[in-house]
Symmetry: C2
Subunit: 293 residues, 2 copies
């Protein structure tokens, strides 16, 4: 472990604004921690890029944060967590926490029916990163996959791992809806009712919000899925892991005027406008950095 | 003019799949022409990048097409047309046609009320590229800008150029809706009714679809705007300009088995899946090229 101290900030890295839902949780649960956030807005979205490219971009961004002096890193991006977490852990000698494993772990702990739903972007669903994470925690069972639905908005997958079944569904319009600030309006309700139609027919009792944008749509998703389905918010679970790591390494801070710094690789105005809706707080100190583009 | 011949293909360049609506028009209006399409899917969307970056990316993509041997280039991307058209024309010695000027010209010809609406992505509306193009054709009048609406989906701009008034409105969700294949469903109708609420109150008689994705939503937009508003499809107007240029330079082809070749910089599977919906035709010959990423 390199020399880190309590007084150093936590670093949060994401491809764009989505990681701000994780930052919001950190601010709520660990109010005395300084935070530096880095968003790779010049090269967002990561979900459509290859694993090699995502790893290269991620290492560049984390390198920047580590040079700023952080004591712990949160990779608040599903794609980067899926593709680059191992490379980041190998390169940098600080605690590194991704967003996939905490949500996967909580889902297994929560489900009684042994039927878990996972919703995410097309990239996340296609990469099966949550399925792999759940299966790794569940003992690497043999996998049987079944496809349901014919038309696009009705299409979802059923993955059987022994006695546990996972249903995965891509909801591509949820991200643009959240970024447009429409996460609670009638368009969001109608969109969610189409996307979740198939999953509602399945006897799932646990639904993982497998995208950092989705906590904004929690109200709408919960309304459609009903009270019997527990929503797993990866942001909350990730912050629980962060808490544990800070205690484990004796790195907790208790700043009375905690620092919030934001760095983006392009278009700070758009980041600020959309980001303040995600963070529910003003973004005051933001700088553009020269990485990528 | 470098050595070009009738038998050479037309090149179409776009940042992603949107330019396929232009390609569809070329195929319909000029069925005997060979076409090579290049989509920069590794670096899409261009709308959030700086002018310098867009110009650099555009020149790289066009360089590739010119090396393949094209007789004419269509820049079927609003952002590239706005930022890079001059640089492309300077560098390459073939006829080059963008998507903005043809739509701007047609709008001026069409409006009787001298009230034009323009809808596009946030980037296009923010760059005022259509307003500049219309004003250039209209004699560079002094510009007076007024903002309407307070909440996001109701916010639009009024630009007065002497006796001509332009109303511009960003519709960010139209692109993801079109790419999701939801251009005609109830979500699209509800989304369009929110976005177009303000413009409907204005006495416009002409509405420019200022984004290559929007022709897919023509039915929904037309239903909401009503029969008195003429929709200007930039794709159609651009192809009219292409026709004129082919005649002017004596470059018309009449192939009985016209070639269709597609090149993308990343994720050919996704391009094919989404693209076939845009093109209403099978995409058979597609290759990934190593530019960017």
């Amino acid at each position: 472990m390199r020399t880190v101290s309590k007084k150093m900030p936590i670093g949060i890295f994401d491809s764009g604004v989505g990681g701000l839902t994780v930052m919001k949780e950190v601010m709520r649960e660990l109010p005395g921690e300084d935070i530096i956030y880095a968003g790779d807005t010049a090269r967002v979205p990561y979900g459509i890029r290859s694993a090699e490219t995502v790893t290269r971009y991620s290492l560049e961004m984390v390198d920047f944060l580590v040079q700023k002096g952080i004591k712990l890193l949160i990779v608040a991006c599903n794609t980067a967590s899926a593709f680059a977490l191992t490379a980041i852990k190998e390169r940098f000698d600080i605690p590194v926490i991704g967003v996939i494993e905490p949500g996967a772990k909580k889902a297994i702990e929560t489900t009684r029916a042994k039927k878990i739903g996972i919703i995410g972007t097309e990239g996340t669903v296609k990469s099966s990163s949550y399925v792999h994470a759940i299966n790794a925690l569940y003992g690497n069972k043999p996998v049987i996959i079944k496809e349901h639905g014919t038309i696009r908005f009705d299409r979802y997958f059923e993955v059987s791992l022994d006695d546990l079944t996972i249903f995965t569904k891509a909801c591509p319009l949820f991200v643009p809806l959240a970024e447009e600030g429409w996460a609670g309006n009638d368009v969001a309700v109608l969109t969610a009712s189409h996307y979740l139609e198939g999953l509602k027919r399945e006897p799932i009792d646990t639904l993982v919000l497998g995208c950092t944008h989705y906590p904004l749509l929690k109200g709408v998703i919960s309304k459609i899925m009903g009270d019997d389905v527990t929503l797993i918010d990866s942001a909350c679970e990730t912050v629980n892991e962060v808490k544990k790591a800070l205690i484990q390494y004796n790195l907790e801070n208790n700043s009375s005027k905690p620092l919030r710094m934001f760095y983006v690789t392009d278009a700070p105005e758009r980041f600020t406008k959309v980001g303040e809706r995600f963070l529910e707080e003003k973004i005051l100190t933001i700088s553009k950095i020269e990485i990528g583009g």
